[in-house]
Amino acid sequence: MAIQIKGIGKSFPQNGKQTNVLVNVNLTVNDGDFVSLLGPSGCGKSTLLNIIAGLEKSTLGEVIVDQQVVTGPASDRVMVFQEAALFPWLSVIDNVMFGLKIKGVSSKQAEEMAQETLKMVHLGRFTKAHPHELSGGMKQRVAIARALVMNPKYLLMDEPFGALDEQTKLLLHSELQDIWQKTKKTIIFVTHSIHEAVQLSNRIVLLGTRPGRIIKEFAIPYSQPRGKNDPNLTYIEGQIFDDLKVEIEKVMQEEVDHDYHVTPNRLPWSSDRDMGSHI
């Protein structure tokens, strides 16, 4: 019962009326969980993560972390963003030491801890480099090190691999699994990739859109590391896709034409491919 999300609702005014981003979200995250919040774009999964982090306020309900109501950000819940969000004026090691210095750790100790954590993400050679000299994957490794070095109880990740290329993403997936097993952190991971969620997490919370709400929960009880072509995982992926289909259809109908719909094993419907029905 580490994180309890109780009746969270979030709405904001848009074009003169209230738009609901999240409605009545209830969720309990246990210690050591790797929970993925999975949903189509615009389902409020990032908003929910921001509320847990304390970066945004909810309109209704509350988040309780270790028996305490969240009122603002705290260093027991460090967040990793899609953009690495490194401080460009600081070297890699200074970036990693940033949070420790805020916490009041002595420079010498902070440097040792930072070195150690950078080795863990395989960047031991690049401590003196500056962010503009690093590739996207390396930046994200620094961002993960910067979060891990604080030794937070909860690691919040907002599509951390969303902007990376496929190969880098695959490598970082297995490294994150490794980190999770080594450090036993509780991770809440926001993603829109079913495959990523199935590969990494032991629980998947499926969010629907308009308004954002929890529609289903899946447990992935398989051991890690997980093979890419594990039939069990592929089966779950298919199941999740079926549940998400309705939600994706909703998003598409708002973004493109209203007659858009998804049929299993078919290309999207088009009048050009209507073979002979109107002869």
């Binding site: 603002g72 401080f87 460009p88 004026w89 805020i102 503009h132």
Partner: protein, 222 residues
């Protein structure tokens, strides 16, 4: 009435040899540095308070935009009235020359800090003053440098204008003196000095700093 390049070169050499140019340069630079320093200080303070306090933004903020379009030399009659024919009057003009552009650049810089940087810092426990000093301010350095460069250019022009009218022993006053005695080679050699100093400081110093900062902050176009 137009002296040959050789006469100008001769005047330049003589001026540096007998030390009269050195004295003028010293006097000018003293005023410039005091005025410029004040402009940067006041500009940053004003810029920060504009972004931090809504009431200041709505009052001073609008005023600054208006004042920016007033060439600072226009203030000289008032400055002479307030401070007399003194150093202070010229320093006042120089300060006014640089302050407004520094203010607007500081404010723009602080407003344009990527929100994700402050959010990242907040989740690591930074807040309040610490957040401002360790994240917001360094993140707006590219804009601050641009502001400092522009403020330098404006202050330099204001100084010359102020010295042409005001009293003392600066470059501008020497220029007036050259005109008064009809010594055009003196006038031209001082123009050469002004151009060279402007070029050295702007192109070699400020542009170089700016380029380094933009590269490091990941903003340079390659």
């Amino acid at each position: 009435m137009f002296p040959s390049p050789f006469t100008v070169a001769q005047t330049l050499m003589n001026g540096f040899q007998d030390g009269s140019f050195i004295i003028a340069l010293k006097a000018s630079f003293q005023r410039l540095l005091i005025g410029y320093g004040l402009a940067i200080g006041i500009g940053v303070l004003l810029g920060v308070s504009i972004t931090k306090f809504k009431i200041i933004n709505e009052t001073v903020g609008m005023l600054v935009i208006g004042l920016q379009s007033v060439p600072s030399i226009v203030w000289l009659p008032l400055a002479l009235l307030w401070f007399g024919m003194s150093e202070t009057a010229i320093i006042f003009i120089v300060t006014l020359g640089g302050t407004w552009t520094m203010t607007t650049n500081t404010a723009t810089g602080i407003r344009n800090v990527q929100p994700v940087l402050t959010r990242a810092a907040r989740t690591m426990g930074a807040s309040g003053w610490q957040l401002f000093v360790k994240v917001t301010l360094p993140a707006s350095v590219p804009y601050l440098i641009t502001g400092m460069r522009l403020a330098w250019a404006f202050a330099w022009r204001a100084l010359m204008a102020g010295e042409l009218i005001g009293s003392g022993s600066g470059l501008g006053q020497m220029l007036t003196f050259g005109r008064d005695v009809g010594n055009m080679s003196l006038v031209l050699s001082i123009m050469v000095i002004i151009a060279v100093i402007g070029m050295i400081l702007d192109n070699l110093l400020f542009q170089r700093i700016e380029r380094n900062v933009l590269t490091r902050w990941g903003l340079a176009k390659t």
